[in-house]
């Protein structure tokens, strides 16, 4: 089968009747609405999040517990600072996910500011505890301290130092969306140029003096 044009339906001899075309036109608004709804549905809400991240302390004994601690993201930024803690049972190394309280404290080494958060079972990782300090800390060096208490008793504080950088300057979501827009513009321009080229370059085909669509 040759190339198709608007005047030549895909299935030869089965051009749409006027009634069918009207019915199709009546249905036209429906798919765009569905598509628009889908686009809105697919856009995730911007929200806070926890990862696991960069290991700071792993399998450190802390009284009756073992602790593993990560910071996320890498490097930490003032607009995103998460501390993630795994509390392990020392003998089996199985994660303890209930019956413990995990407190995380950040102390600025520059001005002594103290921020304290109770780490909760992470939304995205039910085996870990996470504390979020987003937008509550300033760039600079901080000392982090993690303390676990629970049925087995109170652990020893586990400390480490972290460097927190300034908030991210570039919003990569908008960079990405801009890139998508640029790609669309390039496509539209090239499609328009192709259309004009075709109109200019296509000779009119006459059969017995009647112009017909070129195939």
């Amino acid at each position: 089968m040759g190339r198709q044009s608007k005047a030549l339906p895909a299935i030869a001899g089965q051009a749409m009747t006027g009634k069918e075309q009207r019915a199709r036109r009546a249905l036209l608004p429906l798919p765009p609405l569905i598509l628009a709804a889908l686009i809105l549905l697919l856009l995730p809400l911007v929200a806070r999040a926890h990862g696991i991240g960069t290991p700071q302390r792993l399998n450190v004994p802390s009284g009756p517990y073992w602790l593993s601690i990560w910071t996320d993201p890498d490097p930490l930024r003032a607009d995103q600072t998460h501390i993630v803690v795994a509390v392990l049972e020392p003998e089996t190394q199985e994660p303890i996910v209930t019956g413990v309280e995990v407190m995380v404290q950040l102390r600025s080494l520059a001005d002594g500011t103290v921020r304290t958060q109770a780490a909760v079972t992470d939304n995205t990782n039910r085996l870990l505890y996470a504390a979020e300090f987003t937008d509550h800390v300033s760039p600079g060096r901080w000392e982090a301290s993690v303390l676990v208490s629970g049925e087995r008793g109170v652990g020893d504080p586990v400390t480490f130092e972290v460097e927190i950088g300034p908030a991210r300057r570039v919003n990569w979501l908008w960079v990405g969306v801009g890139g998508l827009g640029a790609a669309l513009v390039v496509w539209l321009l090239s499609a328009g140029r192709a259309g004009r080229r075709r109109v200019r370059g296509r000779p009119t085909l006459l059969i017995r003096g009647i112009p017909v669509a070129a195939r």
Partner: protein, 491 residues
């Protein structure tokens, strides 16, 4: 010349004259004729060179998964499977081809199973399509989330054992490698991803195949099994269903089969108007859409809005069972959404150009254009985990060896090893990957439209509804990647 050991499937024979001459073009460069590498790949036990190391790794993972530390970031099974394998699969697809199916250790029992079963039964006709693969693929993603497979070394080991058992049983009962072709979720992932690959099976001279009496590439010979998925090399136009086992090349008595280097993604837009390389089938096209939507939803499942949605579902519908909530979400995001979006786009596309054609044709026309975006999103997601956790294999391996009294890699694990790229590079790279995937999708979609519609305006109208879906997916992926992603299994 050897004689066929079993008769070729009759439908393939009948199709032969039709398909000869429609396969991929003769290769400009044949990897199988490269010095050394070609000989290695075509050696009788060439596949074993990859499979045996993979098998040893699989055995090691099962052992550590069952007996090692049960904290995922410190266990070989979880780290290797969920960080390294997934990351490398997608990179290999883009750079080399389907080397993971080529080296798949799960198919090692194939020969034994075939000998046990003789030729086996034919796979039921009703299942000779991709619907089961779609279901298995989505089910695997669901189980991964529901059972927290990434966090469970024992469960990960169980998955590996299950794969061996499933492949063996199905291979023993049926001919045509049904596990690989119709079920395996990893194979399904690899099949679609490797349509982007720069390599493909083809032949040097189709006349040789036409005159070949034995068709050993499919039938096999006394020495070598034929193609497990029953592909006929001169008719191969796509990497879909090709596991790169190279049994066809080993079986060919004329050394006519080639592993050709091609333009990546060439098959997406190749073919004549109305007769593309890809079959215009509901199942194949739907699989590609599911593959694309799952790329977004799989990443989306690792950021808090997903859990907010779960909490909302629990409150709004009173669904207390986590499994039920996840099942509902996965069916909605990975099956219902692609179906509704695809059907809506197809109906609108058809209406906009005024063509009276089956909806199936409109539905499948632009399916190949989704692959580059999907591959880019999977790459951005799995590549992120790989980039942030690739080196963690070192301390995990050190830990494993030390636990067994071996100090080959030092006397203490170096747990500070993790990332192979600076953290601040990742989001720009993910953004660039998605943009590149979208641009490639735009390019492919444009070519498909121009291939099937002579009128440029009609081509644009036909493509626009699909473009909206692609755009929505790309924006959703970008938004998801801009949220801090959970680094499962990272130490």
């Amino acid at each position: 010349m050897s004689t066929p050991s079993n008769p070729i499937d009759p439908p393939l024979i009948r199709l032969e004259d039709v398909v000869l001459g429609r396969g991929a073009p003769p290769p400009r460069f044949d990897v199988l004729r490269a010095p050394l590498l070609g000989r290695l790949l075509k050696a009788r036990n060439g596949r074993l060179l990859l499979q045996i190391p993979f098998l040893l790794v699989a055995v090691l993972l099962v052992y550590d998964g069952l007996t090692g530390p049960q904290l995922a970031p410190q266990n070989l099974a979880t780290v290797t499977v969920w960080i390294h394998t997934r990351g490398l699969v997608i990179v290999a697809a883009l750079l080399l081809g389907n080397v993971f199916c080529m080296g798949c250790p799960f198919t090692l029992p194939r020969t034994l199973a075939r000998r046990l079963s003789g030729r086996g039964r034919r796979w039921p006709r009703a299942l000779r399509n991709k619907w089961l693969a779609v279901a298995a693929f989505v089910a695997f993603l669901f189980l991964y989330e529901w059972l927290d497979l990434w966090a469970g070394p024992r469960l990960t080991a169980a998955v590996i054992i299950g794969y061996f058992a499933g492949a063996f049983v199905l291979e023993a009962l049926f001919a045509e490698s049904p596990f690989c072709k119709y079920i395996c979720p990893l194979g399904t992932f690899n099949f679609v991803a490797n349509t982007a690959a720069p390599t493909q099976i083809t032949v040097h001279d189709r006349d040789v195949c036409r005159a070949c009496p034995g068709k050993e590439c499919v039938n096999g010979s006394a020495r070598v099994l034929g193609c497990g998925t029953e592909l006929f090399p001169p008719a191969v136009r796509s990497n879909l269903d090709c596991v790169f086992c190279l049994d066809c090349a080993r079986a060919c008595p004329y050394d006519n089969v080639a592993l050709a280097v091609r333009r990546p993604g060439q098959e997406w837009t190749a073919g004549a108007p109305g007769d593309g390389v890809w079959p215009r089938r509901w199942d194949v096209s739907f699989l590609v859409l599911v593959f694309t939507f799952a790329a977004v939803s799989n990443a989306f499942g690792m950021v808090p809005p997903f859990y907010d949605a779960q909490a909302w579902l629990a409150g709004a519908l009173g669904l207390t069972s986590e499994g039920a909530r996840l099942a509902l979400t996965f069916v909605a995001l990975n099956l219902a959404l692609p179906a509704v979006a695809g059907l809506a786009a197809a109906a609108l596309s058809r209406a906009l150009v005024g063509r009276r054609e089956p909806l199936r044709v409109a539905f499948s026309r632009f399916a190949p254009a989704f692959v580059p975006l999907a591959v880019a999103i999977w790459l951005a997601h799995y590549g992120f985990h790989f980039a942030t956790g690739a080196l963690v294999i070192v301390p995990v391996l050190q830990n494993f060896l030390l636990a067994h009294g071996l100090t080959w890699l030092g006397v203490a694990p170096n747990w500070s090893l993790a990332a192979i790229l600076p953290g601040e590079w990742l989001l720009p790279l993910q953004t660039a990957a998605v943009l590149a995937g979208f641009a490639a999708a735009l390019f492919a979609g444009n070519r498909l439209a121009r291939r099937d519609f002579d009128d440029p305006a009609a081509a644009v109208r036909a493509f626009v509804p699909w473009l909206l879906v692609l755009l929505a997916l790309a924006v959703a992926a970008l938004a998801t990647f801009n949220l801090p992603m959970e680094m499962r299994g990272l130490s």
